[in-house]
């Protein structure tokens, strides 16, 4: 088990270098550099420009810049933001809880609805209920996040006025962050209405971000369940005189969860990509908004470091999911 983890972690290093390389090149292919973007229309004297470039190391050959960057990374240093001068890691850690809160809520929403939907569709295979659920799943799956987000905002926030349009909590409330999770912090603050406000702010973004995972989980659960409901051991469970609920929801679902958990794990990467868009739509102060701003400002260290850190999290979650897979599947557990 430990060997497995160590192996997986070692395999991550080349992946990291590749990601660092790709972001490094990609951001430099975008026209304009940090200084030009900042000075904008006003322009800047060539001497000043050269001086700034020198300070940031941008006058070095690109290969040298890259190697320097790797060297820096090897020492655990993700650099400093060009625009705020704060360490990239610090900014990341400050903003990440917001994204994590959104992502967890979205996944909870997707899992809590997706698994029962898949189970119901599988047990009602070929019926109206099955077609309705799977039709909805297909629609959800093909829904462009941006469009879906705006649609929901228009309907629930603008037309009905049920939910706020943006942010994590009403500006009325102020309290020091404790955990960085607004739901928890607002609860701890004891301020009346703060928790409710946080929940209302979270609902729409979580639904928007959770829709595609919801559709994927529902479809995966259905197909896994359909396969497993035909297994001999499900017949054995029924032959024991167990209730249908116990047979389907326990004996069959327990096995169906194995592939479903893998799918949930694979969703994490896509979830991060979706989070960027969702945060942008809802002005959610998380990693996504931070990264988009860093592109606009050509803040090379933030973009590079931010993407590396996000990738690191995705990889970490994938390792955790693999471990969970082992816990769920006795055959794998013993093989390792």
């Amino acid at each position: 088990m430990l060997g497995f983890v160590v192996r997986r972690v070692l395999l991550v290093i080349p992946t990291f270098i590749a990601i660092a390389f790709l972001t490094f090149i990609a951001i430099r292919l975008v026209p304009g550099d940090p200084i030009e973007v900042r000075t904008g229309e006003r322009g800047i004297s060539p001497e000043r420009l050269a001086q700034f470039r020198h300070e940031l190391g941008l006058d070095q050959p690109v290969w040298k810049q890259f190697l320097d960057y790797l060297w820096q990374l090897a020492h655990g240093n993700f650099g400093t933001s060009i625009s705020t001068h704060a360490p990239v890691l610090t900014e990341f850690l400050t903003l990440f809880p917001a994204t994590l809160e959104l992502a967890i809520s979205a996944m909870l929403f997707a899992t809590i609805l997706g698994i029962p939907a898949g189970v119901i569709a599988a047990t009602r295979r070929g019926t109206f209920i099955d077609y309705t659920l799977m039709g909805a799943a297909l629609t959800g799956f093909s829904m462009p996040i941006f469009w879906w987000g705006l649609l929901l905002v228009l309907f629930f926030s603008v037309n009905l006025g049920w939910t706020p349009v943006s942010g994590r909590i009403d500006l009325l409330y102020y309290f020091e962050p404790v955990t960085g999770f607004m739901l928890i912090d607002s609860w701890l603050s004891g301020e009346e209405g703060a928790f409710r406000s946080a929940v209302m702010h979270l609902i729409l973004p979580a639904i928007v971000l959770g829709t595609i995972p919801l559709a994927t989980i529902a479809r995966m659960t259905r197909s896994a369940m359909l396969e497993i409901l035909g297994e001999d051991y499900v017949r054995t469970a029924r032959a024991k005189g167990l209730s249908p609920f116990r047979v389907v929801g326990f004996h069959a679902l327990r096995n169906a969860l194995i592939p479903v958990v893998t799918v949930i794990g694979l969703q994490v990467g896509a979830l991060m990509a979706g989070a960027v868009l969702t945060e942008y739509i809802f002005s959610w102060p998380g990693i996504g908004t931070w990264l988009i701003e860093s592109i606009n400002r050509r803040d090379y260290p933030v973009l590079q470091g931010g993407i590396l850190l996000v990738s690191g999290i995705v990889i970490l979650i994938n390792i955790l999911v693999d471990l969970l897979y082992g816990v769920l599947n006795p055959r794998i557990r013993h093989a390792r």
């Binding site: 054995t236 005189g241 055959r331």
Partner: protein
Amino acid sequence: MPLLEIDDLTVEFKTASGQFRAVDGVSLTVDRGEILAIVGESGSGKSVAMLAVMGLLPWTATVSAKTLAFDGRDLLTLSPRERRKVIGKDMAMIFQEPMSSLNPCFTVGYQIGESLKVHLGLSKSERRKRSIELLEAVGIPDPERRLSAFPHQLSGGMSQRVMIAIALACRPKLIIADEPTTALDVTIQAQILELLVSLQRETDTGLVLITHDMGVVAETAERVSVHYAGQKIEEQPVGPLFADPHHPYTAALLAALPERAKGKHLPSIPGVVPGQFDRPPACLFEPRCRFATDRCRTKVPPRQGAIAGFALCHYPLTHGRPIGHPNPEGREVAA
């Protein structure tokens, strides 16, 4: 009153190409402490008939019968909920594929204990005690340790022993064993069968043994029911059946045994069991029967009396000779 009474059981499946009759007017009885063997080629509806008794058929199946009674209860009118109190408790079933019949995600102990909890409401420690007892009874060494084993850690023979333990858990009155040894190694087959029979004797349960193995039938069964294309075509006590089969199909089966009763699998008779689309109009065995006449092709054969082994035939055999047949020597079936 017999423990299990089946009268005129018919099972039809809804298929893409129409109704398919997998079990056709089967009547059987099983008494307490009795072993009834059901034999017949693949596709003769043996499993489907017993799954109908257990209530385990998929929704595509339509079950009808004049009587379907177990232990004085009418299974036909029992609600699904009431029926679930019977199966797994008073009536248990063991399947052909032990390796895939246990849930890979749960331990042996859990899977045995589950029946004890659901049907008998035993506490955790009682369940553990009884599970160990059961594993001992089915000959699993080191039972305490085995309780925490997962199915993939067991061999086929061990898995089938566990399945038997599960079946026995609530001291059932009837056990249905559907080819319990077919998937196992030859050496293990005999052990499992012996175990099953000895446990059956000890506990005085009824046992329905579905098998392909005429050797098994000769050694273990008391009565034999021979099935063909969904119908019961003959039923006799085991001795008389081997000595004097009355239906041409049974006779052909026995004649094709290399060494009487010693063959491991059902011997092959030329031709195949009719399927959904090539069902003969009258006698279902007619295309393969060496005694077939025009009458067999046009008139559904009658059910003979006990003396002729309840044979479903126009010309039941007596010592190999078809009674009332226009040409008692018969014709040879072109192979």
